[in-house]
Amino acid sequence: MRLRIAGLAALLALCIGLWLFQGLTGNRAFVLELRAGKLAALLLVGAGVGMATVLLQSVAQNRILTPSIMGFDALYLLAQSAALAALGPSAFAALPAGPKFGLEAGVMTLAAVALFGTLLGRHGPADIGRTILTGIILGILFRAGAGLIGRMLDPNAYAVVQAASFANFGRPAVETTAWAAALELPAMALALWLGPRLDVMALGRERAVSLGLEYRAMVLGALALVAGLTAVSTALVGPVAFFGLIVAGLAHSLLPGARHRPLLIAAALIAAVMLVGGQWAFERVLGLRATLSVVIEFGGGIVFLALLMRGKIR
């Protein structure tokens, strides 16, 4: 298990090396700075998506859900559109990146905990079918809500929303990176610290309560972490639908039956490798003839279907 995680770390180091130093010509300092900024954003997104998906799957006791299937990223877009509509485009654009991100992430986390906490927390996810269905319907509701606000905005303001509502790994929002890191790194540390408790929580409500875990508080805390981590990735690159599913699926099959700490680390590493390595290949090798987000979503959709066909709902 340690060996496999070390292997993943080495692979990630290789990808980072290629990303930073391959084809380094011209004004080296400038190119390196540019590349480092994008690299930091991609690493944050990868680690955030990977960990958020593993956490959500443990809360929901289900291997097929991801934060975006449950509408977490749509909720972020809705919060963003609502802020834009409330403040107006010029005031919104004039907001400094940090407070803006903090506000959106805060609104989204509160809303997510309130909504999904009542859905999953009270008696535990007793009925998986209902949980998935409710999540998907909420996701559609949030997306439709964001779309409705978009329609009511004037075209200039709508352009701001539109730019944020498609995944773009090529131009991450570098200006929010530092703020995103300030939210994400403590969230990741907290998730790892909670690892043993997450293991108990994943046994299901009945056993967790019997073992003395404060189950409801744990579910709400995990959902808050999922919301915060998803806010980071959505703010940096936009919504990604199936990426988390591939990552969590790979982490589970690479470390079968692992506890949460190694699982979370592996998911973060796998996601970072896929993003940094994939973006390197598309930008430098394939010369931007394809888009990473499209390929990842295509592959992820196929994994999703394969999981469905094999009946791995639980």
Partner: protein
Amino acid sequence: MIEVSGLSVSLQGTQILAPTTLRLPGGQITALIGPNGAGKSTLARAIARITPPAPGQVRVNGLDVATTPGRRLARELAFLGQHTGLASRLRVRELVGFGRWPHCHGRPGPADRAAVERALADFDLQPLAGRFLDTLSGGQAQRAHLAMAAAQETPWLILDEPLNNLDLAHARALMAHLARLREAGRSVLIVLHDLNFAAGWADHVVAMKAGRVVAEGAPGTVLTAAQLSALYDTEIAVAEHAGRPLVLHHL
């Protein structure tokens, strides 16, 4: 000692458990019997704080279940329900190890490891310890869950129909294990469908029907033909074997 006073449970407007007052003595095996829907599981789950807080009070060895922190209660009582499905993929030894969580909180010491090995041995699980639970039969998985509850090593053990899926040898072995726990001064509350296991092993029998306790006492006083026939609304004959009642419900 478990003291239940005025406890009632309603689910979605339907009363499952009428206000119940009950004292279950410590140091004994107490069997809860009754027809389907009598509220046996509901009572056991309310005592083990699995159902949300309900009107009334439950005290386990003097600790109020509603107000005592969960981690303290987890060292006083262990509960095993009927639903043993698992979302996580675990090996048998890992599952049993979770039973030590209330004592070690994820950092098992030598005492915890010894308790896990004891539980594995008690439930005949050592050959299966390295297997994943989803590769086991229903009865083997049931034994793994029982071992996890036993590894918690609490003064009270509350089991909801633990004989489900067990073959007769392992069912008897479980009851014998519970009897050993009783000899060691611990207490067991067990929901049973097979009346002869109650007749053969329990010290105290509580009979429930339609959400109420209708009879309680020693097996010889509760498991009589008249009481059981009224309890299950069907003719049941009771014989005697080795000084204990033998319920002939299958004839």
